[in-house]
């Protein structure tokens, strides 16, 4: 029952918000915070009661839903998904707290936000394609509104671009899902059953893999499907950017691991090297483009392209350490980039600009803010001792030791390491321009970070350190499942 409760609690909250009078904005805010807090607590409960050593599905809920098409209401968790199930409610709660500064159409905002949370949680727990797809699509609608109503200057454009782009991906994915259903016998939408049965021929696997890949790649986003991301990220309100970067992008990588890797093993091995090359492009291209940005938020947005590249690198490796690293990277990227987007929001709320060139010397004026920002940037660029280092290191190590085609992997991993340097470069340049040097007189009245913002950001900062020092907290969650997955794939 616990997964159903976690998943639908926000939806219930959203429906209750519909019934609250829209003038009582304070009540709506606190109520949303209470709902997301409760969801987060349940998420932690799952985290602590999750049995790490087991590759079996846990907290399984399975009952018949539409027997005519063999569709089941099937929820469950294993090492591939548990980390995201903890991260999602956490980020949702922090984003809700941060969103207390939303003044416009408060009721609708929190309604859509809670609806979004249900969609995201559902994606990570659903193990039946029909259910999975419904949750997958449910995330689109609130996102469209959250960007389109509460976004920045070009919000309408960004909203529709996001909506169309991701819908394109998901309908192509839908065809892949339908093909899996139609070519399995007995017909089933059950992801686990399909992965165990393995009834598909090689060619069929390649075609379906490609269809699913388009859907996932747009979400991740993998170059060249990434162009919606900078627009959506830059125009979205702060809390929504956090969710977008922290959770939504991971739906893509999670989908690949959960579906393509388990159901289409032949295709996964066949496409490992192309995926590796795309990972390299994501890393290097993302880093270079991030360096060229003048807008702070756009820079962070492109850094997401860059960091999701590390995740892809780990996935392409097909080694235990690489896959564990990829899953860990999803978590650390969610934590670190989530914090960075919050921090960009903090400065934008005060200065109403995000021009990197326009700041300078903020360290003297905003010591608290600058300190946290510094930690987050260093975590993002992979400083040892902070979260980013551990996961990126695992991804690189995994790719370097891959047994699929050792020569190619070693060369490409070597090239990808350049990404780290560029990442460090753009973060350091940004820090220098924004925080160091003489104080720009324009900003001498800026107040430092306030309590609401601290509540949203400090937990993430703590996590950065914690995950950096004790990576096992999160990285250990997936080991058993990854081992089982790799055994099924037939690689060591």
């Amino acid at each position: 029952m616990i997964l159903t409760i976690i998943t639908f609690l926000p939806l219930l909250g959203a429906l209750i918000i519909l019934c609250l009078p829209k003038e009582k904005e304070g009540l709506i805010r606190w109520f949303s915070a209470a709902v997301t807090f409760a969801t987060m607590v349940l998420g932690f409960w799952v985290f602590f009661s999750f049995e790490r050593g087991s590759a079996e599905l846990q907290f399984v809920e399975k009952c018949s839903w539409i027997p005519a098409f063999n569709i089941k209401y099937f929820l469950g968790l294993d090492g591939l998904s548990v980390a995201m199930l903890v991260l999602t409610p956490l980020l949702s709660f922090l984003a809700t707290v941060y969103s207390f500064n939303i003044k416009l159409r408060v009721k609708e905002y929190f309604f859509f936000f809670l609806l979004l949370e249900t969609g995201m949680l559902g994606v990570f727990v659903a193990l039946d394609f029909f259910l999975f797809y419904i949750f997958w699509e449910i995330t689109l609608v609130p996102m469209y509104f959250l960007i389109g109503i509460w976004g920045g200057a070009r919000k309408e454009y960004a909203a529709i671009k996001f909506f169309l782009y991701t819908l394109l991906g998901s309908v192509i994915m839908l065809l892949g899902i339908l093909a899996l259903y139609l070519y399995s016998s007995p017909h089933t939408f059950d992801i686990i059953e399909l992965s165990k049965a393995q009834p598909f021929t090689r060619t069929f696997q390649y075609i379906v893999y490609a269809a699913l890949f388009i859907g996932f790649a747009i979400k991740v986003p993998v170059w060249p499907f990434h162009t919606w991301l900078p627009d959506a990220h830059v125009e979205a309100p702060t809390a929504v950017s956090v969710i977008l970067a922290g959770v939504l992008l991971k739906m893509g990588t999670y989908g690949m691991l959960r579906i393509s890797y388990t159901i289409l093993p032949e295709a996964t091995k066949y496409f490992a090297i192309p995926l590796l090359i795309l990972a390299l492009i994501n890393i290097v291209y993302g880093a270079f483009v991030a360096m060229a940005q003048k807008d702070l938020k756009k820079m962070i947005a492109y850094s997401s392209v860059n960091h999701m590249g590390y995740c892809l690198l780990g996935m392409a490796a097909l080694t235990p350490i690489g896959l564990n690293g990829a899953i860990f990277q999803m978590v650390t990227h969610g934590v670190v980039t989530g914090a960075l987007f919050f921090l960009v929001g903090v400065i934008y709320d005060r200065a109403h600009t995000r021009e990197i060139e326009g700041f300078g010397g903020l360290m003297t004026k905003l010591p608290g803010y600058s300190g946290i920002m510094l930690v987050a940037c260093l975590a993002s660029l992979g400083l040892p001792g902070l979260a980013g280092f551990a996961s990126e290191f695992m991804c690189f190590l995994g790719a370097f030791t891959s047994t699929v085609a050792p020569g190619v992997y070693k060369i490409i991993t070597g090239l990808a390491v350049a990404g780290i340097v560029i990442t460090a470069a753009y973060f350091l340049i940004m820090i220098q321009k924004v925080f160091l040097g003489p104080l720009n007189e324009k900003w001498k009245e800026l107040p430092d970070i306030n309590a609401r913002e601290l509540v949203a950001i400090v937990p993430l900062t703590v996590l950065m350190v914690l995950l950096g020092v004790l990576p096992y907290i999160a990285a250990g969650l997936s080991t058993a499942s990854v081992t089982a997955l790799l055994t099924a794939l037939g690689v060591k």
Partner: protein, 488 residues
């Protein structure tokens, strides 16, 4: 499951109870129109809606009845016709409820209007059960003639007259083509009823002449359901007609057209005749043209007309799969389309009553004054676009599944690409409601009847997707019996 022997007259009449009730209702309305004082004529609409609701209840057992021919094979009663009769009756009830509150229709010959609506409902019910080329032609003509009048019902509105004339001219032409095609069939098979033609086909096989005749008839059907390239009349007729008539035309008339198309092709066209490719190309064209043209529409009725054309393309996609699964997907898609479209049109009427405009740009700011109503309308829009958790999604899923299952992967790909295009213009409406600079300042107060339509539609739009088991089973049976009883 079937009655093998033809039924005698009294059994036939018993099987036609719903139609007879509707006929009686029409006479009742005409009589009541004479007797009622002019100020209370609105009651006629209520009376008709109530009467059709009763007929609906009488028709309900129809989807579980055994199949059989009646009146010397002129008509067939089977679950398939029962299913479409229910859709037609339901949309007629919705339509009459909408007409109550549609301003341009107030004090405008309500009696005649109501009687025509009831009669056209009867005509479409007969279409759904026609199993003889003659009966088919007569019922189609009956329906078309009444619809010409209904489309032009706003006599002082130029657009209404324009729509009616276009509809009439093209309709007359396509009827002629239909008869021409039917004459090939009669010539080739020596009989006009489906049962005899099937016997002939089983004995002598299909001649090219026969196939040609069937394809010519397709033009006639294509006109009815607005299949590209026979769709030209639809946007003008939809725009000009009173909005309730537009809703009726887009749902009931289309459903009836789909019913005769499916029945005729299933009954008369052997699977090895290789015309499915033609149908598939038409389906792809219909979806694509409908959606692309809809992109630039600002009038909500025209937009829904073009999107309706695209939906016909999807229905055809399911149909070309030809098997039980394909027919089932057509049935579910039609059902989803009924509720979604009716909800959307009820909404368009509510806005029109307030602003006097069908322009979607005048929807700007609606979400500020009517947040709940806007969101409900948005749910109808995503159902039209085929996004879960709505009925439109289930329909699209099944249609695509049927296409993939029968090897038309390319058609399925065109189908999904089209749904992305479609999302753009549906989202454009959402854009005006939610994001654009507000123009509407006052709250809309839709009447009780409109609210009822929206609530019922919303319920079914969500219900069909989330709890479809029953509907899937029933439609599966309906499709199975159709294949077994009518199929070659």
């Amino acid at each position: 499951m079937f009655r093998t022997l033809p039924l005698n007259i009294s059994q036939g009449l018993a099987a036609l109870t719903p139609e007879l009730l509707v006929l009686g209702l029409a006479f009742l309305i005409i009589a009541a129109d004479l007797l009622m004082p002019p100020r209370r004529k609105k009651r006629l609409l209520d009376l008709a809606a109530f009467g059709l609701l009763v007929c609906f209840i009488f028709t309900l057992p129809g989807i579980f009845q055994p199949a059989g021919y009646i009146f010397n094979n002129m008509l067939v009663v089977d679950p398939f016709s029962g299913f479409f009769k229910l859709i037609i009756l339901a949309s007629a009830v919705f339509m009459l409820l909408m007409s109550r509150d549609y301003k341009p229709l107030e004090n405008n010959k309500t009696g005649e209007y109501t009687a025509l609506v009831v009669l056209v409902t009867l005509g479409m019910m007969l279409m759904a059960g026609a199993s003889d080329l003659l009966m088919l032609f007569l019922s189609i003509e009956f329906v078309s003639l009444i619809f010409f009048v209904l489309v032009g019902f706003l006599r002082h509105d130029v657009k209404s007259s324009e729509g009616a004339v276009k509809y009439f001219l093209l309709g007359a032409f396509s009827s002629a083509v239909f008869v021409y095609g039917a004459s090939f069939l009669v010539g080739a098979a020596g009989a006009s009823n489906f049962a005899s033609i099937q016997r002939h086909l089983n004995e002598y096989g299909v001649s090219p002449l026969f196939i040609v005749g069937l394809l010519i008839m397709l033009v006639g059907f294509g006109f009815k359901i607005a299949l590209v390239p026979f769709h030209m009349w639809a946007p003008d007729a939809y725009e000009g007609a009173p909005t309730p008539v537009t809703a009726f035309l887009s749902v009931a008339s289309k459903a009836a057209g789909v019913a005769v198309l499916v029945r005729t092709f299933i009954s008369l066209l052997p699977e090895n005749a290789n015309v499915n490719l033609i149908l598939a190309i038409l389906a792809a064209l219909t979806m694509t043209v409908g959606n692309l043209v809809a992109l630039t529409q600002n009038n909500v009725k025209r937009l829904l007309a073009y999107s309706g054309i695209a939906h016909v393309g999807y229905i055809m996609t399911g149909f070309i799969a030809y098997g039980v699964f394909g027919i089932q997907s057509v049935l579910i898609y039609t059902l989803a389309y009924l509720f979604t479209n009716m909800g959307a049109f009820a909404f368009a009427i509510a806005i029109y009553n307030k602003t006097g405009s069908d322009d979607i740009r005048d929807y700007a700011g609606l979400s500020l004054v009517n947040p709940l109503l806007s969101f409900v309308f948005f749910i109808f829009l995503i159902s039209l676009a085929g996004i879960p958790p709505t009925a439109g999604f289930l329909g699209k899923l099944l249609v695509l599944g049927a296409a993939l299952d029968s090897g038309y992967a390319w058609l399925a790909v065109i189908g999904v690409l089209n749904s992305v295009v479609a999302l753009y213009f549906y989202a454009r409406i959402a854009y005006y409601m939610y994001f654009a600079e507000p123009r509407l300042r006052e709250e809309l107060k839709p009447s009780g009847a409109l609210k009822l339509i929206m609530a019922v539609s919303l319920f079914f739009v969500l219900f069909i997707c989330l709890f479809p088991e029953k509907i899937i089973n029933i439609t599966g049976q309906v499709a199975g019996i159709l294949r077994a009883f009518n199929g070659l």
